[in-house]
């Protein structure tokens, strides 16, 4: 049994009286590759955003590499505590968004090196060296002086992955990383994620790409109505789902 790096314990979350997360518990292990699947609005993106503190919890707790995120009051001191913890968690967790969100006023190189300098206080030389290393890794070194608007969607997303990697996270979160991409650009992003998996990175991907979930993930988590319905190895989920809801969902997709 591998070590648990992200533990989710009985998490509840509502937006405007609508339950989005309805009692979620799950242990993510070091080096695992997890795919979260489910219909739009099932709470999968919210769960992901809770993992690095972009959303607060109504109940329950999330432990990321020893740092505990839980419900905090409105009091100023408590809010401060929460901010501090979120900050700590984010230093262990990288996140990639559906719409890339590279910073448009910076070149690709700056996108990757500036956050290290701002957040970690790394020197310019060191940050540049590290940025070039990660840009090489995602195959974008020759484009590093371009601005985001000069890059294709796939290139932008690979750049965003390099930017997240450069702060040396232990866990990578992906929120539908390929949904905004043309089909022919999807594979290049998936290839980068597979490489990272081979290097032992813990990755959690919210995705609609069943084919990718099937071939790349160690564990597939199926969610519906704010609950985890079923979580298992892909061959089990896809060929032999246990739950009726899972079957219904997969019938539509496959």
């Amino acid at each position: 049994m591998a070590e648990v790096i992200v533990r989710v314990e009985d998490v509840y979350k509502s937006f405007a009286h609508q339950k989005i997360l309805d009692g979620i518990s799950f242990d993510f292990e070091v080096g695992g590759f997890y795919s979260i699947i489910g219909k739009s609005g099932c709470g999968k993106s919210t769960l992901l955003r809770c993992l690095n503190g972009l959303e607060t919890l109504d109940e329950g707790k999330i432990v990321v590499d020893g740092v505990i995120l839980e419900k905090h009051g409105d009091h100023r001191e408590e809010q401060k505590q929460l901010l501090k913890k979120c900050h700590e968690v984010r230093s262990h967790v990288g996140m990639v968004f559906q719409s890339f969100q590279l910073f448009p006023h910076m070149t690709l190189l700056e996108n990757v090196k500036k956050p290290q300098m701002i957040v970690r206080g790394v020197s310019d030389e060191e940050a540049t060296a590290r940025a070039e290393e990660f840009l090489t890794k995602v195959g974008l070194k020759m484009h590093m002086d371009k601005h985001p608007y000069q890059l294709s969607g796939g290139q932008q997303q690979r750049g965003a992955i390099a930017r997240a990697l450069a702060i040396r996270p232990k866990v990578m979160l992906y929120d539908e990383p390929t949904s905004a991409l043309d089909p022919q650009l999807i594979d290049e992003v998936h290839a980068v994620m597979k490489d990272l998996d081979n290097e032992g990175m813990t990755q959690i991907v919210v995705t609609h790409e069943m084919r990718f979930a099937k071939e790349a993930a160690d564990t597939v988590i199926f969610m519906e109505h704010g609950k985890i319905v079923e979580a298992a190895a892909p061959h089990e989920i896809f060929s032999n789902p246990k739950e009726e809801l899972t079957k219904q969902f997969l019938r539509k997709f496959l």
Binding site: L54, M95, F97, Q101, P115, Q150, L151
Partner: protein, 500 residues
């Protein structure tokens, strides 16, 4: 605090007890002949019978003189806020003014004069003016006398030249103003005539702040001296202003001794047949004064804009990210400033704040006034800019481990700034034009220079075209800049769209 204030007042009082080495005197040179005006042949020199009286008084007192330009209706407020020591500019001695300031003995006595067009035969006195339009100067005694008459439609003007030209253009039926003005501006004009007997009696006095007793006594004494030794009469005669009222006031009924040389010179300068060559020479002589004015306009505008940008940015951040009370404060500021006229704000800063012990030089007051005003508009620009940066950009920055402050500084604000640049540049051009309003707080900038030159030379058209041209030239680089940024932004947006 009380002690401090007491010391402060004591300090001021002790300062005022002595006669200053240089007397600061104020007038509005835009009032024109024969009071105090810029010498047409040498724009750096002041002429006019009041300028000469001040020279004679300074000579008697053995002090220097420093002139301060001030809009006419602000002359007494300026005295009260210690912007200068004395004000002399055809200010009539009236009980309500005496309640505010001290007046010396009169240096001139005159009456009001009705003027109409040559071809108008049915107006002889004020009672003929019923249901007609009569022009006069704002806040003058003539204005108040007109108000006392029933059923007269009063038109008020900032300058006598404007009042008389409206009469000539048929926009009014008569002009009712102090006799010296009529003698200088209406009498030489072939289209106008002086009608009826002199009306009323006005005493012009030199105004000095009530607390400034020592100076008041000295100036009054000096005035007495030049009244008695014939200097005052000589000055008035050269300017063709000696009249029976003055003769009886000074008990000097002797025949005239001095020819009206200054009056004749004035007439000569204004009756010249104007050739293009002369006009051109005249306009080229305007250039130094206009350039100085343009430079001042640019200086006030640029520094004002820098203040507006800095404060506007702060306000935008307060409104977007501050706690509730801070947000309200910013909103209140923006609404109050945007909801009140810049003119009132300038008056408030320059004439109002000194009552609270905050006194600024005209330049500083102008910069603060424009800066504070435009900050409200800039704040909204930046707010719009910041709001137009997608929210996800903030999340991306936070997810990378930046604090909110870092995210703002390195990610949001640089993008917002780029979006806000074109409207900012446009605002700067408006500010450049709005800076013309600071002439009301004694700043001599481009518009004030225009007023001075135009009233001195009686040429609102040519000078106006010239000044408009200079404003355009000043604004042109910024218009270009705005277009450049707009185009650049559009290209980037388009490219973004193609990729998406």
């Amino acid at each position: 605090m009380k002690n401090f204030l007491f010391l402060f007042f004591f300090f001021c009082a002790s300062l005022q007890a002595e006669i200053p080495k240089t007397i600061k005197w104020a007038a509005d040179t835009e009032s024109g002949a024969p009071f105090a005006m810029v010498n047409p042949n040498n724009p750096s020199e002041l002429i006019g019978f009041e300028a000469e009286i001040m020279n004679a008084i300074a000579f008697e007192l053995g002090t220097g003189l420093e002139f301060v330009q001030n809009a006419w209706d602000g002359l007494i407020p300026g005295l009260l806020t210690n912007n200068y020591d004395v004000a002399i500019n055809g200010i009539e001695i009236t009980p309500d003014r005496q309640a505010e300031v001290n007046f010396t003995r009169p240096y001139y006595i005159t009456s009001e004069q009705l003027v109409t067009r040559k071809d108008q035969y049915d107006i002889e006195n004020l009672s003929d003016c019923k249901k007609r339009k009569v022009g006069t100067l704002k806040f003058s005694l003539a204005h108040r006398m007109l108000e006392a008459e029933p059923e007269i439609e009063i038109l008020t003007y900032e300058s006598e030249v404007a009042a008389y030209s409206d009469l000539k253009n048929g926009r009014s039926d008569a002009v009712f103003l102090d006799a010296p003005i009529a003698v200088y501006y209406a009498k030489p004009d072939p289209a106008l005539k002086l009608v009826g007997p002199p009306i009323g009696q006005m005493l012009y006095g030199i105004a000095i702040k009530k607390e400034n007793k020592e100076l008041f006594e000295k100036v009054d004494l000096a005035l007495k001296k030049i009244s008695q030794n014939g200097k005052l009469r000589e000055i008035l005669e050269r300017w063709n202003l000696w009249n029976p009222m003055m003769a009886s006031y000074l008990v000097d009924e002797s025949p005239s001794r001095t020819p009206p040389t200054e009056y004749q010179r004035f007439l000569q300068e204004h009756s010249h047949a104007v050739t293009w060559d002369m006009k051109l020479r005249q306009y080229s002589s305007f250039i130094p004064a206009l350039l100085n004015g343009a430079l001042m306009t640019l200086k006030v505008s640029i520094i004002g804009m820098v203040l507006a940008v800095a404060l506007g940015f702060l306000l935008a951040l307060m409104k977007l990210y501050g706690r509730k009370p801070v947000q309200w404060l910013a909103t209140l500021y923006i609404e109050v400033i945007r909801g009140t006229p810049l003119l009132i704000q300038l008056f408030f800063i320059f004439y109002g704040l000194p009552h609270l012990g905050l006194k600024f030089s005209p330049f500083v007051a102008a910069v603060i006034g424009l800066g504070l005003n435009y900050a409200a508009y800039e704040a909204e620009n930046y707010r719009a800019g910041i709001l137009s940066v997608p929210r996800a950009q903030m999340e991306a920055a936070l997810a990378l481990g930046m604090s909110k402050r870092q995210a703002l500084r390195y990610v949001i604000v640089p993008q917002a700034f780029k979006i806000a640049l074109p409207p900012m540049t446009n605002d700067f051009i408006s500010l450049l034009k709005d800076s013309s309003m600071v002439s009301v707080i004694t700043m001599v900038e481009l518009t004030k220079v225009y007023g001075q030159l135009a009233s001195t030379y009686y040429d609102y058209f040519g000078t106006g075209v010239l000044v408009a041209g200079i404003y355009l030239l000043l604004g042109l680089p910024f218009i270009r800049l705005a277009r450049y940024y707009e185009r650049k932004l559009n290209v980037e947006l388009k490219q973004k769209k193609i990729v998406a």
